[in-house]
Symmetry: C2
Subunit: 213 residues, 2 copies
């Protein structure tokens, strides 16, 4: 395994733990502890934590520790405002041709969404949401747009699991299932712009519910 692959695995693993609240905001990510867990030295771990710090997910303070950051309301609103616009743009800037395989994947997501709605669990919800988001990135032919969208998504993804206790989990799962059904319908019609508009609408509604809670 090459160095870059190791870095990517470590990065995605720790990022995932932050977004799934295995490391909640305020948690201390000890470099030594992580190094021991993954069987490497502090150096590659610091490389990953530096990247997470650049992306705003953690903050390293000398003599104290590397702390998972919190998401304040102002930042959250700004990120969602921008995410809405980018989600729509994904349907207009170089959308990739919708292949049969893409449609099949979308239908598979609908089924997984149905299973989630039947037995909702916060962690499964968040995991499926991340997977569906990654699927959406694959439909975007503009690499820069996909990169920015991913960066923004993961920047605030963790507040979702933080807010779930104040929301109706079953209703949220139903909304999510509906979103996937509508997106799948748009993709079956080979209409990337419709899919993008649906995504934008659901991001908007999701934020409204988040902000109200």
């Amino acid at each position: 395994m090459t160095a870059e692959e190791r870095h990517l695995r470590l990065y995605q693993e720790i990022r995932s733990r932050i977004c799934l609240l295995d490391y909640p905001p305020g948690a201390k990510l000890g470099e030594e502890a992580l190094a021991a867990e993954f069987g490497v030295s502090r150096t590659p771990v610091r490389r990953v934590l530096a990247r997470l710090a650049d992306e705003g997910l953690v903050a390293a303070r000398h003599g104290v520790g590397t702390i998972v950051t919190d998401v304040d309301a102002r930042e959250l609103g700004q990120v969602y405002e921008l995410r809405m616009e980018l989600a729509q743009l994904a349907g207009w800037l170089s959308p990739l041709p919708i292949t049969e395989r893409v449609v099949t994947e979308a239908q598979d997501f609908v089924q997984r969404g149905a299973a989630l709605a039947a037995a909702p669990a916060p962690r499964d919800f968040a995991t499926l949401n991340m997977a569906f988001f990654d699927f959406g990135l694959g439909l975007c032919g503009n690499a820069a747009l996909a990169e920015m969208s991913e960066r923004l998504y993961y920047r605030t993804a963790r507040i979702w699991l933080q807010t779930i206790p104040a929301l109706d989990l079953a209703q949220e799962a139903a909304f999510f299932h509906d979103e996937m059904r509508q997106v799948a319908t748009a993709l079956e019609a080979r209409d990337p712009r419709a899919a993008a508009l649906i995504r934008r609408a659901h991001i908007s509604m999701s934020y409204q519910r988040l902000a109200a809670a």
Copy 2:
């Protein structure tokens, strides 16, 4: 001076050198050489190069060196497409109130633009362009949007100086001067959306001229 400040200075300095072609695409950035120049060890330098690698400005290859990347035509087009949209969004998503000081700064940029048009020089051109871009970032109240715009700008900024020999330098300086005049006029009218639309228009026209060369 704190560690983060040192990092930021080093980062901005090296990024500037890349965008001003002091380090042209293909150039090797030796960690040891940079460390010696700035009077530090390889460690902080590697921290900076890692960030530049994450942003796509350089590529570190084990056993070879850290190389300044080139910008291919497809990436350039996608980045400009997205930058146009973001430039317009800056006028709509939380634009900051336009103070008297902002107007004064804009008028100062117009004067500097006039001086540049009177005696055009590629490097001065690029430097003023970067300064004017940073000024524009300060008008955007959406921190996420400003961050993404900056990232995208610096990602392809170097192709400008690369393409200048194939363009009409005096004409480009005149275009740039016009852009600053129009933006200043919009800001004097306290109309951030007009300023944003002007920025978008000039990004679009600038790309058309770049792509034709």
